[in-house]
Symmetry: C2
Subunit: 264 residues, 2 copies
């Protein structure tokens, strides 16, 4: 290892673009390539959520680059929440389970700001059935209209009062065999269950938020008056490589809670 070896690596492309190369040289720094390789391993399931990935030194040896280069690659993965560093212990694959924040993607918080006061949400599954994707569901999930999807409807309550009514649409292929019982029984974030039972890891999401008016059915389920203004939150959640794996349409009551966002 200590032998002077200033040179390339297996499977990484260290050559700068040749003179007169393509108009888009697609030059990417070494650490980006390393990041891509680690990403592939994550995606391939070489290390499972919650597990440690190899140490920086090991990865440096594997890819034949310096520790600093691996470090910068991991820095970016950590910044994107794909991986979590723990000093003295190692670097771990991010997981929706055992993450001190119960719901990483849920931005609805009590007006008091005291997250712990209300404890975990109670879930009530209203239905869970196989359907065929409508045009807009298909578009959101990058499928074709008519493809099989699982639709789940449920109500989340805090301290006994309903706060969220939401529909989930999941690609039928990836979530074969998902049942209402499974949705109801698992204690912990739904996304953690997806990781454990289906190997699907949600990595990022986009939300579109609107204000709408509760119709009769919705108001019944949320125990509010018809016409109550509700927050409509449409979320598309993605796995690695920007592959959409869930469409979620939520209606949030905002009389005792609000959607919290930080801008910078």
């Amino acid at each position: 290892m200590p032998s002077p070896q200033p040179l390339p690596a297996a499977s990484v492309d260290r050559a700068p673009p040749a003179a007169g190369a393509s108009p888009t040289p697609a030059f990417s720094p070494l650490y980006q390539q390393i990041k891509g390789l680690i990403l592939q391993s994550l995606q391939a399931g070489e290390w499972k959520p919650g597990e440690a990935i190899p140490s920086e030194m090991e990865l440096a040896a594997r890819f034949r680059v310096s520790q600093g280069t691996v470090r910068k690659a991991i820095d970016e993965l950590a910044a994107e929440n794909l991986v979590v560093r723990r000093q003295g212990k190692g670097t771990f694959v991010a997981t929706h389970a055992e993450q001190h924040v119960q719901y990483r993607f849920l931005k609805l918080v009590p007006d008091s700001g005291d997250l712990d006061s209300e404890g975990p949400a109670q879930r009530h599954i209203i239905e869970c059935r196989r359907v065929r994707a409508s045009a807009d569901v298909a578009r959101a999930l990058a499928m074709r209209p008519g493809d099989a999807v699982l639709q789940v409807r449920r109500v989340l309550s805090f301290g006994g009062t309903p706060a969220i009514l939401e529909d989930l649409w999941l690609p039928g292929n990836a979530f074969k065999g998902l049942t209402a019982e499974q949705m109801a029984d698992y204690h912990g974030p739904t996304y953690a269950m997806f990781e454990l039972d289906f190997g699907v890891r949600m990595v990022r999401a986009e939300e579109k938020i609107r204000a709408v008016s509760a119709d009769s059915g919705q108001s019944l389920l949320l125990k509010t008056e018809q016409g109550t203004p509700l927050l409509s939150v449409e979320r598309v959640a993605y796995t690695y490589n920007d592959v959409p794996m869930e469409l979620r349409r939520g209606l949030y009551r905002t009389d005792t809670h609000h959607y919290r966002n930080e801008l910078s």
Copy 2:
């Protein structure tokens, strides 16, 4: 410079906590201290928005640390959007002016997703007056109830149709002399005007979002029906050091636009 000088710097604290030190050693790495010093200079106005800060080499010399350490400090400042790096040119103080995204903190986008299609917002100032801070305004701005604040009410329209009705509250001291004309005449982001005319730089913000129902006055100004569900967006914007400098309460129409958010 090339002389071996493995040692401290003027005004930076390189000593690790002494044995048996305080229970919270408050150890902070060198680059954090450098970051703090740069932050102070930003805050003190040593470099103005849009201007270049000294090069990494210069800062390294000034603080008697290596370029790499300065680099890491600036990395964090860039990650927090306080500063913008431009390869080959330098590092620049972030500004709300001349930033290709017109409104950095405005997350309302047209459903089409095409930001350019509608052009800049038209502003209509309804009023701009000195008032005394109510209890909640005072709390948000870290002032005392009764202190002087400026209140501005305005409507923003896209392509002729009103989309946002908002009230702004600004500390009277910092914004002495702000007039309705000034609010109306400046072309570009309001926060850019704050930088130019008052030396106030908004650096981050927090928003609380709810769904509400338009009352008669609001529906008139937004040209909607009374009872239309609207997005209520309460924003507190901060300068350096987490000092709140603006409270903003906006009502967004979401029939042709939506609030867009990214989660990760």
